[in-house]
């Protein structure tokens, strides 16, 4: 090393720039989220100050208005119901399907798996318009059937691919040994495969529930006043000419905070889950 001092300075400068970049990106990602949470705790006057104040009188008024007068408690229950049923359906049906495709030597297994993936190419609107018309014909428009069916169908491809990946990662001898010991294929599935891919099941359950919880388009058109989910309720606020920022911020906070908390637990599965197992986390 000829110029240790010079090198030290360069290293210090690079580190400083790194820290600045990382800090700016942190501000950029969580700033807007914090802003909406803060706004939900402000009274009408403090919401409109420029720049946004960080010192204000805390009030829970917006929450009581959203929950009591705004029917948000009901939307909350509706959303939870739709998310729970559709994620149970997609993980349940998806796991059976994945097991059969990986372990039971199905003819055309890879073709079937790829056909499921094609579902990812269908735009929501292309599915929504005819689904709306069809549900209208059979009188199921406005019920939970529409969003549950749509969310399950959209989640199935990625659930199947994710769980196929998990099953494929299991040591093959394990299943073979179980079968030699006289287990039937279904016993091997319940006693060996399911317990071992449990983390995968949990991750896909959370990811599909999260999709359903956040999804707007299908819920917007296929539900009615009694079956609105949270995103639909919020869209009714946003759509109006003058937005009640306090109330909608409270509703937004109630909707997003549970997902952010749950999301922290599945960090390591997000990469695998969102790419259908194409990228390992």
């Amino acid at each position: 090393m000829k110029h240790p001092k010079n090198l030290d300075f360069k290293k210090w400068l690079v580190n400083l720039l790194k820290i600045i970049a990382l800090a700016l990106f942190l501000l950029w990602t969580i700033g807007p989220i914090l802003l909406v949470i803060l706004t939900s705790l402000k009274n009408q006057k403090d919401i409109f100050t420029v720049p946004p104040t960080f010192i204000f009188r805390l009030t829970l008024d917006n929450y009581s208005r959203a929950l009591v007068a705004g029917d948000f408690a009901r939307y909350f229950v509706n959303s939870a119901f739709v998310a729970l049923v559709s994620s149970l359906l997609s993980v349940g049906l998806g796991t059976f399907c994945a097991y059969a495709l990986v372990s039971l030597r199905v003819r055309f297994a890879s073709l079937i798996a790829q056909l499921f993936l094609l579902g990812k190419l269908v735009p929501a609107i292309t599915m929504l318009l005819p689904l709306f018309a069809l549900l209208n014909m059979v009188g199921l428009l406005g019920t939970f059937v529409g969003p549950i069916l749509a969310h399950t169908a959209i989640n199935l491809p990625f659930v199947i691919w994710l769980i196929m990946g998990f099953i494929r990662d299991l040591p093959e001898d394990l299943e073979a040994a179980a079968l030699v010991d006289g287990c039937t294929a279904m016993q091997a599935f319940w006693k060996i495969v399911v317990p071992l891919v449990l983390p995968g099941l949990a991750a896909s359950m959370i990811l599909s529930a999260q999709f359903s919880w956040n999804e707007l388009v299908f819920a917007l058109q296929l539900t009615n006043l009694d079956t609105y989910t949270l995103p639909v309720g919020i869209s009714k606020f946003v759509g109006s000419i003058s937005v009640d920022w306090g109330k909608s911020s409270a509703a937004a906070t109630l909707t997003m905070v549970p997902m952010i908390i749950i999301g922290c637990f599945i960090q390591k599965y997000i990469a695998k889950g969102t790419t259908g197992g194409a990228v390992k986390g």
């Binding site: 989220i33 909406v36 039971l104 269908v122 749509a150 093959e172 079968l179 956040n214 869209s235 909608s248």
Partner: protein
């Protein structure tokens, strides 16, 4: 591996049934009804017009405009997200892992927020009178230049920025997962051979990340091409149709103007465009992974 064809069919069938009912039957129905001219609820009085709706699509200036807007939005959002996401992933890789993990958790938060809430947040921030975006821009004297969601020339850009905020974490997470699979020894070896950081980035990181980036481009690209929620929440397609994506246009035709046949035609053309652009990429990326 055992052969149990009946059991296998029994296990696969339920999932296939859901996809048939929720996707294939609606798609087939949409394809057929795109050949008709009718309004919601009056299917019986639909008149068969064969390909007239498709001819209309090709001659409809607004349809062509929305196709261009959709492509522009996809290109703009995707390139910004790739640049920012991959850049931050590389940066995170270069700091101690403990810090990278904590920061990564915070960085991924926007991904967990419902798109309609992203729209709500950004509408609050883009508000011309009390929005924080204008406030920050005023430090640099740019607040009078920036048009936000109000001016046609700026609206699409502003919507794309909100989309970048929401989905860059996805690129970041997937790129980080890809980076984690590149052995650190490669960088060591390059450094010993006297390569600088830029050389390592161009010759090691990006080439080895190619497969992962392809997956990101497919997933993010198809999502951006289908964009609906965030535009619906921020501008509804305005001002002056300057943010009218294909999905928004089809939605408006169907549910606001009740022209169901034409709306289905637009939505099917959207899917066709999507398949044309992304199916070859998909085949390349997923085709061999089984």
């Amino acid at each position: 591996m055992i052969r149990r064809p009946y059991l296998a069919m029994f296990l696969i069938l339920p999932a296939v049934t859901v996809v048939i009912f929720a996707m294939l039957i609606p798609l087939g129905y949409g394809l057929v009804m795109s050949l008709f001219d009718y309004k919601i609820g009056s299917e019986t009085s639909a008149t068969f017009v064969f390909l007239k709706n498709y001819v209309r699509f090709l001659q409809d200036p607004l349809a062509i405009k929305s196709l261009v807007i959709t492509l522009a939005f996809t290109g703009l959002a995707l390139s910004l997200e790739l640049l920012l996401g991959v850049g931050m992933a590389v940066l995170l890789r270069s700091i101690p892992e403990r810090w990278a993990r904590i920061l990564g958790a915070f960085y991924s938060m926007p991904l967990l927020v419902s798109p309609i809430i992203v729209g709500l947040i950004w509408r609050y921030m883009y508000d011309p009178t009390f929005g924080v975006v204008y406030y920050v821009l005023s430090w640099f004297g740019l607040d009078s230049v920036f048009g936000g969601l109000e001016k046609p020339g700026w609206a699409l850009f502003s919507v794309a920025i909100a989309d970048v905020w929401e989905t860059t974490p996805f690129v970041l997470i997937v790129a980080s997962a890809g980076l984690a699979n590149i052995p650190k020894e490669l960088y060591e070896a390059a450094r010993i051979d006297g390569a600088n950081a830029l050389y390592s980035l161009m010759r090691i990181t990006l080439p080895l990340l190619k497969k992962v980036l392809l997956v990101v481009i497919i997933i993010r690209g198809t999502d951006a091409f289908r964009v609906f929620d965030i535009i619906y929440a921020l501008t509804g397609g305005g001002p002056g149709n300057s943010t009218l994506s294909l999905s928004i246009y089809a939605f408006q035709k169907g549910f606001d103007q009740y022209e169901m046949g034409y709306a289905m035609t637009i939505s099917i053309m959207t899917m066709a465009a999507l398949v044309v652009v992304f199916a070859p990429l998909m085949k390349k990326s997923y085709g061999r992974s089984l």
